[in-house]
């Protein structure tokens, strides 16, 4: 199943509610205040956020005026294009050796995402080692170990409560010694306002830069699609500490629409790189803005 089909299946229920609303909206007769009000409600209900919603609607309104678009039906493709462009980024292809650090607040699904990424790279015939740098949460390393088994990749872990930077150091050393293509670093969930945990993350980040300067290094933040506008603060805080390269948008298989990515994009240029669409090991896909929007409408 390709991205589109899978996402569409995952978004099926979302579709039932959200797309139905959109469908009705765009079957209307004219672009009047009522239309814009309902569009605003629809976008806000998808967690797009007040500011980003206003931006999207303003742009849409202006373009409709310029192009003399009078009916919703004529405007539909235009709105889809505006929304696609808002979250569409060019992502530089990977080079190897590759190190990916996965961070995020508690409970967004970091460990699961790493498990899926391990399989994803394995499918691409890359060798993978996992670094269990979440030494804080009870049984986090055990959880990652199960994923390592499932994906058939190596894992470096220390005892619970040990220094996560040391785990990363060991994983990098191991990768260098064995010419491993990909190192995936799992980190402890941390709320963005917990200073010392954020500092710990900065330390891990520094270890990668120092120990493996010539690898392709990417830092991803995992965002739970059910999260509201707090995702903005999450991105901001993590970006400040370790300069994030992208987003993994997780749990898109629920009824949440993940519209907060529009809110994030309105604030800073941070692409969604992957989406998580289920709990199976293959339930991760490269993000495709156009397909994402198509699936929504």
């Amino acid at each position: 199943m390709g991205f589109f089909e899978k996402l569409k299946a995952a978004l099926k229920r979302t579709k039932e509610a959200f797309a139905k609303k959109m469908y009705e909206l765009f079957s209307g007769r004219e672009l009047n205040d009522e239309f814009y009000e309902e569009l605003e409600d629809a976008l806000i209900s998808a967690d797009v956020g007040f500011t980003a919603t206003e931006q999207i609607i303003d742009e849409f309104r202006d373009e409709c005026f310029k192009r003399k678009i009078k009916t919703p039906a004529e405007g539909k493709e235009l709105l889809k294009r505006i929304m696609t462009e808002a979250i569409d980024y060019e992502i530089e292809p990977y080079s190897y050796p590759l190190v990916i650090l996965v961070a995020g607040v508690n409970g967004v699904g970091k460990t699961t995402a790493i498990g899926k990424l391990a399989k994803y790279f394995k499918n691409k015939k890359k060798s993978v080692v996992l670094a269990a740098a979440d030494t804080f949460r009870a049984a986090a390393a055990e959880q990652l170990e199960v994923w390592a088994d499932r994906a058939g990749v190596r894992i470096i872990r220390h005892e619970e409560g040990s220094d996560p930077a040391a785990v990363v150091y060991d994983a990098l050393a191991s990768a260098k010694a064995k010419n491993t293509d990909v190192v995936l670093i799992d980190t402890a969930g941390r709320l963005q306002n917990k200073k010392n945990l954020m500092n710990e993350l900065a330390k891990i980040n520094k270890v990668v830069g120092r120990e493996y300067p010539d690898c392709d290094y990417r830092t991803y933040i995992v965002i739970d699609a059910t999260t509201g506008q707090n995702a903005l603060q999450q991105v901001e805080a993590f970006d400040e500490i370790i300069d994030m390269d992208g987003i993994i948008l997780n749990k898109l298989d629920g009824t949440a629409k993940g519209g907060v990515v529009f809110a994030i994009s309105a604030e800073r240029e941070l692409p969604v790189v992957y989406v998580g669409v289920g709990e199976g090991i293959d339930d991760i896909e490269e993000f495709d803005a156009k397909a994402f929007i198509d699936a929504l409408f």
Binding site: S45, G107, R137, K195, T227, G228, K251, G254, T255
Partner: protein, 442 residues
């Protein structure tokens, strides 16, 4: 930052604009409502809930003759406040204890909402109340979930019952037997995170409910949840008929609008909230306090409770005197830091202080790493410098910086923080003298 402080900043701002005027016009009420709407939406309150909320508030605002009122600002605030409290459920409610033990508590919720951690917190809380809880591991899906509960149980010093990955009803039945045999009067059942739309898993937990007939069925919800909170809560409530809601991760800087939404759509009370990473970090949810915080009126009661936990009575009296007389020194400041660590972060505290919420910027934050640095700086001062920081000249600062392995900037920022805190403490103490109860601080 305390929960809702973003929202309280906004509302304080709106109301400070209103406050400056003697009377409100209808247009101004409308503007205020618009601002409240935006603030609530940005706080992730569900848009339908916001709509209802705003229409109730503006109806009352107009209906009660705001335009003729003597003090319209206070009236608007009172209406918004009352409505917030009403939406979040009036008075607070406790965890029910069954008159016929065991009290069975069934936890449910989405993946990653924090059920397992909350199980541990609940166990610790109930143990403090003299109960003898048993934790039951019914998350048979997530890798290492059972192990996680075992570790949590060990840290909480509470037994954990598990049977590996077998049918959850079988686990539950056996757990009840063990509870009876070991005199566990509370049984807390951890379950797998599940999507509300996953029919198979929802059937599973429904079966568990029917078998256990729990005293409490608690829906665990991440306070950072967005618009979808209503769908999740509605569906879980429909299937499980939950008895209450637990909000987790409220210690994060989320505005937590989900609290408003969930209560409004389910009608079920929010009973507890998770406010930190430690097993003791759980609080009873107080709607009226939360509403006060939203409105920037401060959460004085929580603040006082926190302070009571951190200070002994004599310490508190002494500190109060010093606060009032603004006579506390850098040495007291040191002690203060240690206490602050116990009380939670300063920003969170500031958000609770009436009239100060939203008025103090970001530079009062204190973290534990910096506390050590500050200690080093203060220890590098002479006793007289500690008693009288006004006398510290720049040549002294150079020496202090060298002695503590810091920079002059660090020393300056410590002193700045000291004066800020001193100022704040003075204001707090004076407010305390006037009494918190009577007048609204507007």
């Amino acid at each position: 930052m305390g929960a809702f402080s973003g929202l309280s900043e906004r509302l304080s701002h709106i109301f400070s604009k209103l406050k400056d005027k003697g009377r409100l016009t209808e247009l101004e009420v409308k503007q205020a409502m618009r601002e409240i709407r935006i603030a609530l939406l940005e706080a992730d309150v569900n848009y339908v809930v916001v709509k209802n909320f705003i229409s109730r508030v503006s109806e009352k605002a107009v209906g009660e003759g705001i335009l003729k009122g003597l003090n319209p600002t206070q009236q608007v605030i009172k209406i918004v406040n009352d409505e917030l409290v009403a939406t979040m459920g009036g008075t607070f409610s406790k965890i029910e204890i069954s008159p016929k033990p065991p009290t069975i508590i069934l936890m449910c919720g989405l993946q990653g909402s924090g059920k397992t951690t909350m199980c541990g917190k609940l166990a610790v809380m109930l143990r403090k109340q003299g109960k003898n809880p048993l934790l039951v591991a019914c998350d048979i899906y997530r890798p290492a979930a059972i192990k996680q509960l075992q570790v949590v149980g060990k840290n909480a010093n509470v037994p954990v019952f598990e049977m590996g990955q077998v049918d959850v009803r079988k686990i539950a039945k056996e757990a009840l037997k063990q509870a009876a045999a070991n005199n566990n009067d509370v049984v807390i059942v951890d379950t797998a995170g599940r999507l509300h739309i996953d029919e198979q898993l929802m059937d599973e937990i429904k079966g568990l409910k029917e078998l256990l007939n729990p005293t409490e069925i608690l829906l665990v919800v991440d306070a950072m949840t967005g618009q979808d909170a209503v769908n999740v809560a509605q569906k879980f409530n429909e299937v499980m008929d939950v008895t209450g809601v637990v909000l987790t991760k409220l210690d994060c800087d989320t505005r937590g609008g989900a609290a408003l939404s969930i209560r409004e759509v389910t009608g079920k009370p929010i009973k507890l909230c998770g406010v930190g990473e430690k097993l003791s970090d759980v609080e009873v949810f107080h709607p009226e306090r939360m509403a006060s915080r939203i409105l920037g009126m401060g959460d004085v009661l929580t603040l006082i409770e926190k302070a009571q936990n951190a200070y002994s009575e004599e310490e508190a009296k002494e500190m109060q005197r010093k606060m009032r007389e603004r006579s506390f020194t850098l040495e007291d400041f040191l002690v203060q830091f240690e206490k602050m660590k116990d009380m939670g972060d300063l920003k969170q505290m500031v958000a609770m202080i009436p009239g100060l919420a939203g008025k103090i910027g970001g530079d009062v934050e204190i973290d534990e790493g910096r506390i050590d640095k500050m200690k080093a700086i203060i220890y590098s001062m002479t006793p007289s410098e500690r008693q009288n920081p006004d006398g510290i000249k720049s040549s002294h600062k150079k020496r202090i910086a060298a002695g503590s392995g810091t920079t002059i900037q660090d020393v300056n920022s410590l002193l700045k923080q000291f004066y800020q805190t001193k100022e704040m403490m003075g204001r707090m103490a004076n407010m305390g003298k006037r009494g918190f109860g009577g007048r609204l601080p507007f």
